[in-house]
């Protein structure tokens, strides 16, 4: 297949892309299928019609959808034409392409086919998506050779795996996958597992060595979780490659579910560096690059298990003046929030002791039986949570700061974990000021700077400084192209 740009010639994706079209059609007609199934159980006469719908009509719709989806590349950009009943023509100018995502689902990998998703600027814009493209077609659409091999070295497996322990947002796809698995396999496996767990717990409560059994159960739970996270890492996250090439950040990750994402470097909306408590012990960081988001696709790279040297190198590639950011917080020129703000936070923290105490006293008065075996963990857990919040607040008050350079706002917050945020002022879309009664009395204001994908909030700064920051935003604001 020629790798040259084929212009003004309509093309069609591979016939293998009928499969994802069929899946989409099934989803769209799911209501009718479910309703028909219910009816057919009650009245046998409807069964042939339901069967005909599923076996004949839906595949036909998928084939028609594939047959009438055409694309081509012209001098103006990319054109997509789709629909056989109601036709639509989508024109996407090349310079308006903000985000580009190339992925290779597992069923396309043996066929050496790819999926492409393009996103343009602005809200409520249509996403441009195609499945089942050959590499030549992909290159023809993008207008340049595509190098999907020779990627830089990956972050080691164990660092990514360790990052899954403190990145709770990753647990959501794992829980969703488990739920899907349970619905597919029925309650046989999970139901029996749950019964065995309950039996083990009951044995622990009535055993002669409860501490031993408790530790054993805890160890089994941790090992089970470790296995699940290992699977999650292998499927979704490892290997993880990132590089800046041709003015574009390119990230690839995953083995079974491989995903590739690109962000134009000038369109970087925000950079966030996180170091949760567990990561601090290992000296690892989580780096998040936010690209230009839209209603349909929020693009955010998250690089897990990065070392300080790697973060420094990546920051240097984004903005060279911030390469040493992780050490800069020790310098005195960082500004801090007003003390009155922390006084109010501390008041709220003390007030939160009331419900925690009430819960503790009530559970104790019921003899720790109100919620069964959960009563004691709940009571002591709420006290622990209160103490944890207090410690975090004290550390936040002591270790935080913000700094405004010519065109970038830096914000650093350190409680039990640490977080740095870098926000280029020229990407700010909207500014919001909030003033409570307390802030009004002390001529302070809360300033929130929002980009298309992420925001930074300065909790309590002088009103005059907020005005100066806003004037700077107005000077630097330029179009997002």
């Amino acid at each position: 297949m020629s790798t040259e740009i084929i212009s003004n010639v309509w093309q069609r994706a591979s016939a293998w892309s009928i499969a994802p079209h069929l899946f989409k059609v099934l989803l769209e007609w799911a209501g009718l299928i479910v309703g028909g199934t219910v009816l057919s159980f009650g009245k046998q006469d409807y069964q042939p019609y339901l069967l005909g719908l599923v076996l004949l009509v839906l595949p036909l719709l998928a084939v028609l959808r594939w047959r009438f989806t055409l694309f081509r590349r012209t001098e103006q950009g990319i054109e997509l034409q789709q629909g056989w009943w109601s036709k639509q023509l989508l024109l996407l100018a090349q310079q308006r392409v903000q985000e580009l995502e190339i992925s290779q689902p597992p069923y396309l990998r043996p066929l050496k086919l790819y999926s492409l998703a393009l996103d343009s600027a602005g809200s409520q814009q249509k996403e441009f998506a195609l499945t089942g493209l050959s590499q030549a077609q992909l290159q023809a659409l993008l207008g340049r050779p595509l190098t999907l091999v020779s990627t830089p070295s990956s972050t080691p497996f164990w660092r990514i795996w360790l990052a899954t322990w403190y990145s709770l947002y990753l647990w959501l796809p794992m829980v969703a996958a488990l739920g899907t698995l349970q619905s597919l396999l029925g309650n046989r496996i999970f139901g029996s597992l749950w019964q065995q767990l309950k039996q083990a717990f009951s044995d622990w409560q009535h055993s002669d060595h409860p501490l031993f059994w408790a530790l054993l159960l805890l160890l089994a739970a941790v090992l089970g979780l470790a296995l699940l996270l290992t699977a999650l890492t292998f499927i979704l996250l490892y290997p993880q490659h990132v590089q800046l090439e041709g003015g574009r950040w390119q990230l690839q990750h995953g083995t079974v579910l491989k995903k590739s994402q690109q962000i134009k470097a000038p369109l970087l909306q925000m950079v966030q560096i996180s170091q949760p408590l567990l990561a601090r012990g290992f000296g690892h960081y989580r780096l998040s690059l936010s690209g230009f988001g839209s209603q349909l696709q929020q693009s955010r790279f998250v690089l897990l298990g990065q070392t300080r040297a790697q973060v420094t190198q990546l920051l240097g590639q984004c903005w060279s003046q911030f390469a040493d950011l992780l050490n800069a917080w020790q310098q005195p020129h960082w500004q801090r929030f007003a003390g009155q703000y922390f006084g109010r936070l501390q008041l709220y923290w003390w007030l939160s002791l009331l419900p925690v105490s009430a819960l503790f006293i009530w559970l104790a008065s019921t003899g720790w039986t109100a919620f069964g075996w959960l009563s004691i963990p709940l009571a002591f857990g709420s006290v622990f949570w209160w103490l944890w919040r207090g410690l975090d607040l004290a550390l936040f008050r002591r270790y935080h700061g913000y700094q405004l350079t010519a065109d970038v706002l830096l914000y650093w917050r350190a409680g039990l974990g640490q977080q740095w945020q870098l926000l280029p002022l020229w990407q700010v879309q909207q500014v919001r000021l909030v003033q409570s009664r307390l802030l009004q009395r002390h001529q302070l204001v809360q300033l929130q700077l929002a980009t298309a994908n992420g925001s930074v909030t300065l909790a309590a700064i002088p009103a005059a400084q907020a005005q100066a920051i806003y004037q700077q935003v107005l000077r630097l604001t330029r179009s997002v192209v």
């Binding site: 308006r96 879309q429 000021l433 409570s436 001529q443 204001v445």
Partner: protein
């Protein structure tokens, strides 16, 4: 008299300011000294700021009354048997108190709502206990919409929504201004959005399919 007289306002900001609701010029130096000063946020408003329409008060009161009536009707229909065994004053009096507070907040909220269109940005202030100011640079405005609900139609009111790039919802939602003001503001904002950007990239339209010789089947 059309208070927004600059229907053919230039796309680029110019030295001369555009017109404010009361006919006075508004430039970006306005309120620069007291813009975020708490004096500005709490004291009587300068003339250049525009408030919501006078009809916004009865409209919002009517809206809240309808909501309260709907909720009470549904609650009663769902559990009327329970109400038969409960002492009515124990329910009605607190509910009336809550309703009175909820309705009483409306004029206070309206008094703290104001907006101004400047040369380079649009500002909307609102909030009762927590005062908020939303500032949207005009270069960031992607498009503007005007909508009118059923109750708003009765009072000739409308909602103006300003959208910026990347937002899933409206960045600024200015509800209950007069329909005429909303239309004029919408036209003025659309004219003031900088025109140096390339036209919209994605355009959808219904077309006839290409002929067979224009296609290339891979």
């Amino acid at each position: 008299m059309d208070s927004f007289a600059t229907k053919n306002a230039p796309a680029e900001p110019v030295d001369s300011a555009h017109v404010a609701p009361d006919g006075q010029p508004v430039d970006n130096a306005l309120l620069s000294q007291t813009f975020i000063d708490d004096v500005c946020l709490t004291q009587p408003l300068p003339a250049q700021w525009a408030g919501l329409a006078a009809a916004a008060l009865p409209k919002r009161l009517l809206q809240r009354l309808l909501i309260a009536l709907t909720v009470c009707t549904i609650s009663f229909a769902a559990s009327h048997r329970v109400f038969a065994y409960i002492d009515w004053p124990l329910i009605v009096l607190p509910l009336l108190l809550v309703l009175a507070l909820w309705l009483g907040m409306v004029p206070l909220q309206l008094r703290h709502c104001r907006y101004v269109l400047r040369q380079r940005d649009f500002i909307y202030c609102h909030g009762l206990l927590w005062r908020k100011a939303d500032l949207l640079p005009l270069r960031r405005v992607q498009h503007v919409t005007v909508s009118q609900g059923a109750i708003q139609k009765l009072f000739d009111l409308a909602t103006l929504e300003l959208y910026s790039a990347g937002s899933s919802g409206a960045e600024i939602k200015l509800a209950d201004i007069t329909h005429h003001e909303a239309m004029v503001l919408s036209e003025l904002l659309s004219a003031l959005i900088p025109q140096d950007e390339p036209p919209l990239a994605a355009v959808t339209s219904s077309v006839t399919p290409p002929s067979a010789e224009q296609r290339h089947v891979d």
